[in-house]
């Protein structure tokens, strides 16, 4: 383990904002992509089911 305390881990040697900002935006955008895709998938499969009836 590289860190001695939680606050040291969060501070990232003074680069906290930049490091956490980078990781945060990356996973936020990926999560949004998955959420949007899931919404699209649901609406498409609903449309297909309705067409089949």
């Amino acid at each position: 383990m590289h860190w001695n305390s939680m606050s040291e881990f969060l501070a990232m040697g003074g680069y906290g904002f930049y490091v956490w900002g980078s990781f945060g935006i990356t996973f936020l955008v990926m999560a949004i992509e998955l959420w949007l895709l899931n919404k699209r998938r649901q609406s498409v499969s609903q449309a297909v089911k309705q067409e089949a009836i």
């Binding site: 930049y18 955008v29 992509e33 449309a47 067409e51 089949a52």
Partner: protein, 245 residues
């Protein structure tokens, strides 16, 4: 006696056979992506040591470099499918190109934003008009141009062909991005694999970065297959392929 049937190389080129195959691949790619990304984050945030020059700020590379790689790689993949669409006139190739574009654009955006978050503390500027950064920004515009062109043309077949030509012409930008750090005197540092000091240190950093990159690759495959399945259903929703699933 009947002879054994020849293997049909184009079997999976048909949306109808590809749809259930893609459905089977998605969970495997998604699960391995999640495992590798978590492991990569563990290495990047807990195991990898401090960089002797950039302190803890260098840890941004664990997301920045894989995002930048896939922004370029996915563009080439999209251009390849677009080219295959033009050559073989295959619908599925066009659908694949269309499905790749949003994820490629997303990684381009992330490469630019995380790069900016790196540039501010390291160079003192959020943005500079350096060859690497400018060509990466042009890549984002190419992706946006690709979507816009598809959205602007009502006839799907024509939209596919026109956007495929744009994707192919734009592919020239990818080697420009890649070699920009060699060809011009850029502020952006050279290839990160040469970000070396003591070999043991570089090895664990490189390992973390590669694990993250493989994770991002599997994530991309899962997302692209999910999107191409939506695309298949939307374009050809009269044949109810959902039942084969």
């Amino acid at each position: 006696m009947e002879t054994k049937k020849d293997f049909n190389w184009f079997k999976y080129a048909s949306p109808k056979t590809f749809y259930p195959l893609a459905g089977k691949l998605i969970p495997w790619c998604a699960i391995s992506a999640a495992v590798l990304i978590i492991y990569g984050l563990y290495i990047g945030l807990f195991v990898a040591p401090t960089d002797f020059q950039q302190g803890e700020g260098y840890r941004i590379i664990f997301v920045h470099v894989p995002a930048a790689w896939f922004s370029m790689f996915l563009y080439l993949l999209m251009a390849m499918y677009a080219g295959m669409g033009l050559i073989f006139n295959s619908k599925l190739s066009y659908m694949m190109a269309t499905a790749i574009a949003p994820t490629g654009a997303m990684f381009t955006f992330l490469a630019l934003v995380t790069g900016s978050l790196w540039g501010k503390p390291m160079w003192g500027a959020w943005w500079v008009w350096d060859a690497r950064l400018t060509s990466e920004l042009i890549l984002l515009f190419l992706y946006i141009g690709y979507f816009s062109l598809q959205a602007a043309i009502d006839d799907k077949t024509r939209a596919d062909k026109a956007s495929a030509v744009l994707a192919l012409v734009g592919a020239i930008n990818v080697p420009i991005i890649y070699f920009s750090v060699k060809w011009w005197n850029t502020l952006h540092q050279g290839s990160s694999i040469s970000l070396t000091k003591a070999p043991a240190m570089a090895a664990i950093m490189l390992q973390g970065m590669l694990i993250m990159a493989i994770g991002f690759w599997l994530y991309s495959i899962a997302v692209i297959l999910m999107r191409v399945r939506c695309e298949i259903l939307e374009r050809d929703s009269k044949t109810s392929m959902l039942r084969q699933d």
